[in-house]
């Protein structure tokens, strides 16, 4: 059962919607539009994904001095057909132009009645789909509410108390996430926690407040950041993000520490390694000890990013940082970035040495999600590597030339200095996306060449022709993520049992 509600919209869809809701030169007091809505169900958070604007045709949304703003039957009927076809719900959105500049819009009694009645009757054709009503002010502030109606199972219940349009239960969204090249989180009317979890420690955070101000620091304090993979990169990120002042970390990993990890596991002690503690537990401990946000919260989850059971924890997040080097995990997160509108920043390093000399090495940081090219088109993973990662670890080999018993090397070369570089670039990208600190370093793949020591941007600026990733935008729970059984995790569990 989720306890909080967010809404999310892409920057592009918001631009389209704004042009309809606030047309230049219009003398009509209010304007409105209907949007298709998907749902993203996390462990604690339900996000209403405002995925597509159904632009009204001339005469479909009119102002009446007595009845207020009216959506025509034809428009509503067209919306129901589109929602049925797209297997999603509907949002009725209209403006309140007279909202004071510093205030949130507030639905009127008339709005409550009209929206509930419309959504009740239209919703009967859209079983279990989200039904949403929203009011927008010219200052960009929103009030968003989701309706849940009990539908009668017997004809005798029709029209009875509990089954009427006026008996609908309302859930209020506390924030609207605007997702594009950057991520903007706008608190909504009825915000209770989450984005308003913005308490600061101005002494501990003084130097960063001098850079991005109280406003920026409050935005960091309002962020819930997902962190997948608590290895060499993720362990550094756990501590750094907590020091940076993010409000909440949701960490995910299944692996245990060993002595072989100690040369690159930030904050881990020899005792942790000897006790084979979970990396995610050590990361959580370090993050809590390092946190500067007064209400910092860390959730450490033992699990894999490719398994269905753990996905809801990631869907609770505003943005996800991935340090796991599995191509399969990167693929699943790539799907989440678009289908659930949660930006993902990925970082990783590949090093090859021979006779004590580095012969090849690169570190890369990329972002995916609406407004960014996807990880597959950016070359963060490819499908043959994903397929191989789905195999049992003991049977992975060079695909197509399988030799019985071939195994991948037990441990790839890894050095903490490269991990720290990747973690730093990921943190800088997080600040660029959420705070706008570096507007020219938001987008694309940033690559460090270990051999010549240069840092440059890759040429990929958009997805390749035929890429279907963008078409997944806002599908939410209706999109089947490419999850499965993480056999690395299963093997680790079998070893633990022994």
């Amino acid at each position: 059962m989720t306890s909080e509600i967010h809404a999310a919209i892409t920057k592009a869809a918001l631009g389209t919607l704004d042009a309809i809701l606030f047309p230049r030169g219009s003398i009509q007091p209010e304007h409105g539009a209907i949007m298709l809505v998907g749902a993203s169900t996390g462990q604690r958070r339900r996000t209403l994904l405002l995925r597509e604007v159904l632009a009204p045709r001339p005469g479909e949304v009119v102002w009446d001095h007595y009845a207020g703003l009216l959506f025509s039957t034809g428009y509503k009927s067209r919306a129901v057909s589109a929602a049925t076809q797209a297997q999603c719900g509907l949002a009725f959105i209209h403006t309140h132009p007279r909202t004071p500049s510093g205030a949130h819009p507030c639905p009127s009694e008339q709005d409550f009645r009209a929206d509930a009645r419309d959504l009740f009757f239209l919703g009967q054709e859209l079983l279990n789909a989200p039904l949403v009503a929203a009011v927008v002010a010219p200052n960009g502030r929103w009030s968003i509410r989701e309706y849940k109606f009990s539908l009668p199972s017997e004809s005798a219940d029709v029209g009875m108390k509990g089954y009427r349009w006026r008996d609908g239960r309302i859930g209020w969204a506390t924030a609207l996430r605007v997702v594009g090249e950057r991520l903007e989180i706008r608190p909504c009317a009825h915000a209770r926690r989450g984005v308003e979890n913005s308490a600061l420690d101005t002494q501990a955070q003084d130097s960063s407040i001098r850079l991005w101000g109280r406003d920026g620091q409050e935005r960091l304090a309002g962020l819930r950041v997902g962190l997948t993979g608590l290895g060499g990169v993720g362990g550094i990120l756990a501590e750094h993000l907590a020091r940076l002042g993010v409000g909440e970390l949701v960490m995910l990993d299944f692996d245990r520490l060993s002595v072989e990890n100690l040369n690159r596991s930030q904050g881990a002690t020899r005792s942790d390694a000897c006790m084979r503690k979970k990396k995610v537990a050590v990361g959580g401990r370090n993050a809590r000890a390092a946190a500067t946000a007064p209400r910092f919260k860390a959730t450490a989850r033992d699990g894999s990013a490719v398994e269905r059971e753990t996905i809801p924890y990631m869907l609770d997040c505003d943005i996800i940082l991935n340090g796991a080097d599995s191509p399969w995990a990167r693929q699943v997160l790539n799907h989440i970035a678009y289908a659930h509108m949660i930006p993902v920043i990925n970082g990783g390093t590949e090093l090859r040495g021979r006779d004590g000399v580095l012969v090849a090495g690169k570190s890369e940081v990329s972002a995916a999600g609406p407004g960014h090219p996807c990880f597959e088109c950016s070359g963060v993973y490819d499908r043959p590597s994903v397929t191989e990662a789905m195999e049992h670890p003991s049977l992975r080999g060079q695909r197509g030339y399988l030799q019985d018993g071939t195994q991948e090397p037990v441990r790839a070369p890894s050095v903490i200095s490269n991990n720290a570089l990747v973690a730093s670039l990921m943190e800088l990208r997080l600040c660029a996306i959420t705070l706008g600190t570096t507007p020219d370093a938001v987008f694309g793949t940033q690559r460090y060449d270990s051999l010549d020591g240069t840092l440059h941007w890759a040429l990929t600026r958009a997805c390749k022709a035929g890429c279907r990733q963008v078409s997944l935008t806002g599908l939410g729970d209706a999109h089947f993520l490419p999850t499965g059984t993480d056999l690395d995790r299963q093997v680790a569990l079998e070893v633990e049992k022994k």
Partner: protein, 144 residues
């Protein structure tokens, strides 16, 4: 043979399976699921003159997340032998990748053909229809 509830398979896989059935006009039954892969029975395949065996039972091993992951490899029953007595390239008798299909069909003489179908179309679920053709193509190839 274990009864696989196909309605529990991922939606894209079900769509692909339906497309495969239309193209092949065969039942293409999913006979086993193991470790992120499903085994689709493509039935008996006539092999031509390249092999001593005239025909073989062929099962395709396809990732459950198709088209987000590739199909990988074929299971053949029995183990095949070339007419010229040379070894069959990339044939692995009794390989664990083939075991789930062999167990499902109660066969003990089987092999896995490790074959990466990189060039097979796989941008949409319906592209699974190509699996049968790509399997046949493998048997038609004349090895040196």
């Amino acid at each position: 043979m274990p009864n696989i509830d196909e309605s529990q398979l991922p939606p894209n896989f079900q769509t692909g399976l339906a497309a495969l059935r239309v193209v092949t006009d065969l039942p293409c039954v999913v006979i086993a699921i193991a470790e992120n892969f499903a085994y689709i029975d493509l039935g008996e395949e006539a092999l031509g003159g390249h092999y001593k065996e005239g025909c073989a039972r062929v099962v395709a091993r396809v990732a459950l997340t198709f088209p987000d992951a590739d199909p990988y490899g074929l299971v053949v029953m029995p183990v095949l032998h070339r007419s010229d007595d040379k070894p069959v390239d990339r044939q692995h008798p009794g390989h664990p990748h083939a075991t789930p299909a062999a167990t499902a069909l109660g066969v003990t003489d089987f092999a896995f053909w490790s074959w990466n179908w990189e060039r097979m179309p796989r941008s949409k679920p319906e592209d699974m229809a190509s699996v049968a053709e790509w399997a046949r193509k493998r048997f038609r190839q004349v090895e040196s």
